[in-house]
C-alpha cells in the first residue's frame, strides 16, 4: 500500500484542534465557574457617582443618615479614578454585607459634556474592576447632579458589555441637569439630543427615578426644573418605569439635596432593598392570619 500524504494533513489539523482544546478546556471551566459564582451571588451594591467638583466624600452625610435609619449597616467602598484611568480604593465591603455602597469619584471632576464623556469612560474602568472583583449580578445606580449624566452616558455606551450577566435594576438621579442650564426645553443641548438618539440602548426592564429640588418654583437654585424634567425624553416609554419627583423644604438647594430628609426617605423606599420595615409588616400579616384562623 502506498503512503497517503493526506494523513499528514488530517493529523496536523487534529493536533491543532487538540492544541486549542486544552487551553480552551481550562478557559471554559474558569469562565463557567465565574458565571456560576456571579449567578449565585446575593450581593446587590448601590453604586454612587457624585456631581462635578465633588469627591468620593460627597455622600458621607447621606450614608450616615441612611445607616442610622436602617438596622443593617451598609459598608462603604470608595473608588477614585485618576485621569490616566488608575484606580485607588478606600474602605472595604464587609463580608456579609449584601448591599454595600460603592462610590466612584474622578480626579478630573470638571463640568462640561466633553468631561462627562471622559468620566463615563473612567466610571467604566471602575465598574469593570468592581464587577470582576465582587461578582455581583445586579446593582443599583445613584447619581447626584452630573453623576446622573455620567450614568446615562455609561448606560448608552458601555452597559451592553455587561448586560448579559449584570443587570442595572434601578437608576436614581438627583437634580441631574439633563439639558444642562437650559430653561427652555425647545433648545435641546447636543448632549440631550445624543441621549435621546441613543435611548434604544437603555435596558427596557430598568426602573428610573429622577428627583428634582424645588427651592423656588423654577429651580433648585442652580439647575432649572425643566432641565431635570428633560429626563422624560430619554426614559419615558423606554424603561419599565420612569418616575419624576420634586422635593421641597429647607434643604432643597442643589447642593443640599443629598442631605434632604425626603431624599433619604425616597432612597430608602425606592432604591434600597426593602429591609426590616417590610419584614415587620409580613410578620404582622402572619399574626393577623393566625388570628383569623383561630376565629374560625
Amino acid at each position: 500500500m502506498h503512503k497517503n500524504h493526506n494523513f499528514k494533513w488530517l493529523i496536523l489539523v487534529l493536533l491543532l484542534v487538540v492544541a486549542l482544546a486544552i487551553p480552551g478546556y481550562f478557559w471554559m471551566k474558569k469562565s463557567n465557574h465565574a458565571k456560576a459564582e456571579r449567578q449565585k451571588s446575593l450581593m446587590s451594591p448601590v453604586i454612587m457617582v457624585p456631581g462635578s467638583s465633588a469627591t468620593t466624600e460627597r455622600f458621607n452625610q447621606l450614608i450616615d443618615e441612611l445607616n442610622q435609619a436602617t438596622l443593617n449597616k451598609h459598608s462603604v467602598l470608595k473608588v477614585n479614578v485618576s485621569s490616566t484611568g488608575k484606580l485607588s480604593y478606600k474602605g472595604t465591603i464587609a463580608k456579609n454585607d449584601l448591599e454595600p455602597f460603592i462610590i466612584v469619584g474622578f480626579e478630573n471632576n470638571k463640568d462640561g459634556y466633553s468631561n462627562i464623556k471622559k468620566q463615563a469612560g473612567w466610571l467604566d474602568k471602575a465598574f469593570d474592576s468592581l464587577a470582576h472583583n465582587y461578582k455581583f449580578n445586579n446593582f443599583k445606580a445613584f447619581g447626584h447632579s452630573n453623576g446622573g449624566l455620567i450614568w446615562t452616558y455609561w448606560l448608552e455606551h458601555y452597559y451592553a458589555d455587561y448586560s448579559n450577566e449584570i443587570t442595572m435594576k434601578r437608576l436614581m438621579t438627583l437634580g441631574t441637569p439633563y439639558n444642562f442650564n437650559e430653561k427652555n426645553i425647545n433648545n435641546k443641548t447636543q448632549m440631550l439630543e445624543t441621549f435621546i438618539k441613543n435611548k434604544k440602548k437603555i435596558p427596557k426592564n430598568l426602573i428610573v427615578y429622577s428627583l428634582s429640588g424645588g427651592k423656588n418654583y423654577e429651580s433648585d437654585g442652580i439647575v432649572p426644573e425643566s432641565s431635570v424634567a428633560a429626563a422624560k425624553y430619554i426614559f419615558q416609554n423606554r424603561v419599565k418605569n420612569y418616575t419624576a419627583m420634586t422635593v421641597t423644604g429647607s434643604k432643597a438647594d442643589h447642593s443640599d439635596l443629598p442631605q434632604n430628609r425626603q431624599v433619604i426617605q425616597v432612597i430608602q423606599q425606592y432604591l434600597l432593598k426593602p429591609g426590616n420595615k417590610q419584614e415587620k409588616q409580613l410578620g404582622q400579616n402572619k399574626r393577623k392570619n393566625r388570628r383569623k384562623n383561630i376565629n374560625k
Binding site: 493526506n6 494533513w9 488530517l10 489539523v13 484542534v17 482544546a21 478546556y25 463557567n32 456560576a36 449567578q39
Partner: protein, 441 residues
C-alpha cells in the same frame, strides 16, 4: 439498488439547471475559500466572543490598533466575498446556462448582474430597517445564493430562447464585438424587462426576501420548542433550505442562542453546578448545531475526511485539503460551494437524514441520562466536534459520544461518496463521447 440510485442522480445532474449550477459553484470555489478563511479569522480572533480571542486573552495582549485593523480587513474581505456572493453566482449561472445552448455567455452574465442588482436595490429600498445600499441586500449574500442562481439561470434561459448562436473565436476585433452587442439587444431588453417587473413586485409587495427576518418565525419555533418531534420535523425544513443554498435559518440557529428557554437552562445549571435535569432538555437550539450539524462536522468535515482517505479524485482531493482547516473550525462554506454540496442532488438526502439520526441518538442519550444537556455558551470558532463537549462544561462522556456520532456519520457517507464517484465517471464518459461527436461534425 445502487445502480438505479446512480442512474437517477445522473439523470438529475444532467438537467440544465443542475448542470449550470454545478459549473457555477465549482467556478466560485476560490471566492468561497477566501471568504471562509477570512470569516474563520474574524470569528475566532477578531470577535470578542471568539475562541482564540478569549483563550489567549487578546483583550489585554492585542493593541486597539491591531485589533481594529484586523477586524477591518476580515470584515471587508468577508463582505466582498460572501457579502456580494450573489453577484458572482448570478453572473456565472447565466454564463454557463447560455453556454449550454451555445449562446453569447459573457453578455448573458453581464445581464444577470444587472438583473440581480436591480432586485437587490428593490429589496433594500423597500426595507427601512436595513442599510439602504443594494450591496447590503440579503439577496446578494452567500446565505441566499439559491435566488441568485435562479436569476442567473433565468437570464441564461432568455438568451437560450431569444439570443443568436455564438461561437467563441481566438481573436476578436472591435467590429465583431459590436455585432455581438447588437445581437444581444433583444435578450438583454427582455431580461431587464423581467427583472424590472420582479423588482417592482419585490418593492410594491414589500417582500422582505430572504433576510433573516422572513425566517424568524421558523427559527423562533425551533428555538422555542422542547418537543423532539417538532424539532426533527422543522430541522428537515431547515436542512433542506440550506441544501438549496438558503443558509439563513441554519446560520441564525447556530449563532444566536439568547432565548428565554436557554437562559432558564443556563440559570438552572449554574445554580446546581450541572445540567442533567434542566427544565428544557430537547430544545431545537441546543440540538441542531451541537449534534445535528455539529457545526458542520457531521456532514462537511465527514465528507472531507472520506475524500482525503480514499484519494479517488485528484481535483476534489485538493479542494478538500485546502478546506480542511476552516471546516474543522466550523467555517464550512468554502467546501460546501467547492465540492459542491449545495444543490448537489447526491447530498440532498444525506444532508437531511444525518442530522435527524444524530439528533435522535443525542435525544435518546439525554433521555436515559447518558449525557447531560448542552446549556453553557460556546465560543465562536470552536471546532465542531468539541461544541457539545464545551457546551456541557467539559463532560467527557459527551466528547466520546460526539466522536461516536462523527464515526457513524462517516460510515453513512462512504456509500454516498462511492455513488458520487460512479456518477462522475459516467458523466466523464458522456463528456468524452460528446467531445468526439463535436470533433467529427
Amino acid at each position: 439498488m445502487i445502480d438505479s440510485v446512480t442512474k437517477f442522480i445522473l439523470w438529475v445532474r444532467q438537467r440544465s439547471f443542475f448542470r449550470a449550477v454545478q459549473r457555477t459553484l465549482v467556478m466560485l470555489m476560490p471566492i468561497a475559500v477566501l471568504g471562509s478563511y477570512f470569516s474563520l479569522l474574524h470569528d475566532s480572533v477578531f470577535t470578542p466572543d471568539g475562541i482564540i480571542y478569549n483563550i489567549f486573552n487578546l483583550d489585554a495582549i492585542m493593541s486597539d490598533h491591531v485589533w481594529y485593523g484586523g477586524a477591518f480587513v476580515c470584515q471587508g474581505m468577508v463582505q466582498v466575498t460572501f457579502g456580494v456572493f450573489g453577484v458572482y453566482a448570478a453572473y456565472f449561472a447565466a454564463r454557463y446556462t447560455a453556454r449550454l445552448y451555445r449562446k453569447d455567455s459573457t453578455m448573458a452574465g453581464m445581464t444577470a448582474v444587472i438583473a440581480i442588482l436591480f432586485c437587490a436595490y428593490a429589496n433594500t429600498v423597500g426595507n427601512v430597517s436595513e442599510q439602504q445600499s443594494p450591496f447590503s441586500s440579503s439577496l446578494l449574500r452567500v446565505n441566499g445564493v439559491f435566488i441568485a442562481l435562479l436569476i442567473g439561470y433565468g437570464v441564461g434561459q432568455v438568451f437560450h430562447w431569444l439570443g443568436s448562436n455564438y461561437t467563441p473565436v481566438k481573436y476578436e476585433h472591435a467590429q465583431r464585438i459590436q455585432r455581438r452587442s447588437w445581437n444581444a439587444l433583444i435578450p438583454i431588453s427582455v431580461s431587464v424587462g423581467i427583472s424590472i417587473i420582479l423588482g417592482v413586485l419585490i418593492y410594491e409587495l414589500q417582500i422582505k426576501m430572504l433576510n433573516s427576518g422572513s425566517f424568524k418565525l421558523l427559527v423562533r419555533r425551533i428555538q422555542g420548542t422542547n418537543n423532539l418531534g417538532e424539532v426533527l420535523l422543522l430541522s428537515v425544513v431547515v436542512m433542506f433550505l440550506s441544501w438549496l443554498g438558503i443558509g439563513y435559518p441554519l446560520n441564525s440557529l447556530s449563532t444566536s442562542i439568547n432565548s428565554g428557554y436557554t437562559a432558564d437552562n443556563l440559570t438552572y445549571a449554574l445554580q446546581r453546578g450541572n445540567s442533567w435535569n434542566v427544565p428544557y432538555k430537547f430544545l431545537g437550539s441546543s440540538l441542531i448545531n451541537t449534534y445535528g450539524t455539529m457545526g458542520g462536522a457531521s456532514i462537511v468535515l465527514a465528507v472531507i475526511v472520506i475524500v482525503l482517505l480514499r484519494k479517488e479524485h485528484k481535483e476534489i482531493e485538493s479542494i478538500a485539503q485546502i478546506n480542511l482547516l476552516p471546516v474543522a473550525f466550523t467555517s464550512v462554506l468554502g467546501f460546501a460551494v467547492g465540492m459542491p454540496i449545495i444543490l448537489n442532488p447526491l447530498f440532498m438526502l444525506p444532508m437531511i437524514i444525518i442530522p435527524l439520526i444524530n439528533m435522535t441518538l443525542a435525544a435518546g442519550a439525554i433521555a436515559v441520562h447518558f449525557i447531560p444537556v448542552c446549556v453553557y455558551p460556546v465560543l465562536k470558532g470552536t471546532p465542531g466536534i468539541l461544541i457539545a463537549f464545551f457546551g456541557t462544561n467539559g463532560n467527557w462522556t459527551t466528547l466520546l459520544f460526539s466522536l461516536l456520532l462523527f464515526v457513524i456519520d462517516v460510515l453513512i457517507l462512504i456509500p454516498i461518496i462511492r455513488i458520487g464517484e460512479k456518477v462522475e465517471l459516467n458523466l466523464e464518459k458522456e463528456n468524452r463521447r460528446n467531445d468526439l461527436n463535436a470533433q467529427k461534425s
